[in-house]
Amino acid sequence: MLKNGLLTMVASLLLAAHFAFAQEDVLVVTLSSDPTSLYMPRAADRTAGNASWSLYDTLVWLNEEGELVPQLATDWQISDDGLTYTFTLRQGVTFHNGEPFTADDVIATWEYGGDGSNDYPGYYTVATSVEAIDDFTVRITTAEPNAIFLTTMAKNWAIIPGDYMREVGIDAFAAAPVGTGPFQFVSRTPGERIVMEANPNYWDPALPYLDGVEYRVISDPSTRVAAIQTGAVHIANRLTPELAESLEGEDGVDVLTYLNDRVYYVAFKNIGAGVGTPLEDARVRQALNYGVDRFGIIEAIFSGYANPAPGFVVEGNLGYDEAAMAPFAYDPERARALLAEAGYPDGFDIQMGCPADGYVNINEVCQAVAQSLGAIGVNVDVDFQTTNTYWSEPQYAVTGPMFVDSWSSEVGEALPRLQGALIPGNYYTTWEDSELEALINQIDVTVDRDERAALYQEMHERMRNEPPFIYLYQPVIFEAVASNVQGYRPLAAEEYFLRSVRLAD
């Protein structure tokens, strides 16, 4: 009787279930967390940014090839002193609410973006003025020449309708966002889904190809895999290598892998706890680079799914040159010889901080680094700390003379991680090298891309001969994509744009 009752219950619930896709081409994409906001200046995390970008356009866009291409600006000029940018705006563009796009909206985007309550107001306040020359010409001024200003705009300045924003304010705007983007906001159920439909008046009449996009929040990676296995979603992102392997041979699902623009490294200190240690000798720092078996770490801990990092300039970055930038070889003999040359034939003892559970498999990585170095006589005492403590103080004050960390970049070049980890005074800078500092500052104000690329190469040379870090690895990202999805090209920073994605029959 009990059994019959159960069966009846299951059967009646099955009747209520219907989870087939509608006839329309609606792409369903997983999000690993509920976006904090759909207003770009408050959508700092990758998940929120990805969902938001379907709604907006920028003046210039950094495309999948890393080139700056026109979007809401059809043309732009940079003054000779590199301080003034003059944009010619696209005419006849309307926002989802019908408001026409003009120079005033660029001003509003800048004004509201720089609000102190946002995540990174600095992305907007880097421009000291934004003026309308006429309805379709905008002049933007920066205080100093800024190499990545256009990239910063491309990555952050989602153009918003000024009149609407001034009428409702940031909070209400975030609840019902409006842009000029390929998709327009329909609804959002907190913790569950965000629904968008194609913008019928998109300025590029060919786009978008889809009728709509639906984002589903699924925080557990194995559930994201189940979701794509059952056909309930088309794209399942942020999978572990094990889960990605479990999908091999699955009908109708392809596994996509690409390198993340993130470098894991062991930082040396020549300030704080690093003063007076053997690390001050460049030969010792080279020895430690030769003495860490990064290839073995990648094989053993990441099943081969990571790239050995050649330095801070990595594959996909401006200035990267595969032929000239090989990672340090694993050469314990050479490491021991260098140590002996530096006056440490028997090695030495040293402490290395590790952010416990701060990143995927980082505890194992810290231990493997210590083990590798132990083999060349450098006895590493791994100091595991909770991430709250680890990242709460200026890094030079936290732990021993070395510490493990990672730094990403989403601008297609190494500049943010170079600045973050090498400009004195920053929280994570523990290595002071005036020559490197000068080079970074020069890169920062060099607007010409080719010149900048050459500077990155010079930078790489210096960072190899006088290494401020042990370069470890660059992780691989795994996503599962339904076979009928076309034109999906995520970028190295885990960013994706759905405007030119389509669903095959």
């Binding site: 009990l2 309550s117 907190p190 296995q229």
Partner: protein
């Protein structure tokens, strides 16, 4: 009765104050809140501005007094990431969690109570053996593991039920079963042992010796006496399900308080974490209070005590 109610109310109030103290200081023990909340590469001045804005530059006792005053006014603070009142956010996510907890409780009760009764009335029979196995399984199988197993079997292999989300009534089945299974185990064991106790009692022996029919015995004499401990356990179960659904909600992408808490922890949105914890504790205490009062009403002996 009045003094019983008053003493229970006082007890609950003391509990709430205890929870507030605990939550406030535990959150601050986990690290410097400013470091948790500002971006990793924020300059020092942004850190200081932030600390001032949040009142985090004040001495701890001052911060605590301010916090208690705010809570008393029903203000649990603003979410750091979403920049709106935490209570508004909690309200949006409350119903799915209640729904899931009710579903789990309904599932557990529907199976556990008849099974436990049948087992207790026929100890050592085959039903009893099933009941004891279910009881043990419920208490030992971790619910998130069961959840994943159910997803693989019923969603991925058989395609009978959705693997995640809250789209249709069918979406509730797998999460409710996974969440309710532990409660089911406990309920079966409790029902069974209570029936056994009651059957060994003097009043039942008297009734039996008077010649009351076996069915009459079960309905008139056993059931009402089993109901009393069950009510209190159901109350505890419900609050446990409300607070304990974090894993299950995450496994099934169920948009309730559990996934909200998980996200808040990941985003280091500590006012939100604090608010959810206080909120769940508040509900748990209220339910316990209600259970106690109901208990007193069902069992007149307690009103006098």
């Amino acid at each position: 009765m009045l003094s019983y109610v008053a003493s229970k109310l006082l007890e609950s109030l003391a509990l709430i104050v205890g929870v507030l103290v605990l939550v406030f200081f535990l959150v601050r023990l986990t690290g410097d809140p400013v470091a948790l909340m500002v971006p990793k590469d924020a300059p020092q001045e942004q850190r200081e501005t932030f600390a001032r804005m949040m009142g985090l530059d004040q001495p701890l006792p001052v911060q605590f007094a301010q916090y208690i005053a705010d809570v008393a006014r029903g203000d649990l603070g603003d979410s750091l990431r979403q920049r709106r009142p935490t209570l508004d956010i909690i309200r949006e996510r409350l119903w799915p969690t209640v729904q899931l907890a009710l579903g789990a409780l309904a599932f557990a009760m529907t199976i556990a109570i008849p099974l436990g009764l049948a087992a207790g009335l026929n100890p050592d029979g085959w039903i009893d053996r099933i009941a004891r196995t279910v009881g043990l399984a419920g208490q030992t199988i971790p619910n998130y593991w069961l959840g994943m197993l159910l997803i693989v079997f019923f969603a991925v292999e058989l395609r009978w039920l959705p693997a995640f989300g809250r789209d249709t009534a069918a979406s509730l089945v797998l999460p409710a079963v996974s969440l309710g299974f532990a409660g089911l185990g406990q309920l079966v064991r409790l029902t069974r042992s209570t029936v056994l106790d009651v059957r060994r009692s003097d009043y039942l022996r008297t009734a039996r010796s008077k010649g009351v029919h076996a069915t009459g015995l079960a309905w008139r004499h056993v059931l009402p006496n089993v109901a009393i401990p069950l009510i209190s356990v159901l109350g505890i179960q419900f609050t446990y399900l409300l607070g304990g659904s974090v894993y299950i909600e995450s496994v099934f992408a169920w948009p309730g308080l559990g996934t909200l808490l998980e996200g808040a922890i990941r985003d280091t949105d500590f006012p939100l974490v604090q608010a959810i914890t206080v909120f769940i504790a508040f509900i748990a205490i209220s339910v316990h209070l209600l259970t106690d009062l109901l208990y007193g009403w069902v069992d007149p002996r307690l009103r006098i005590a």
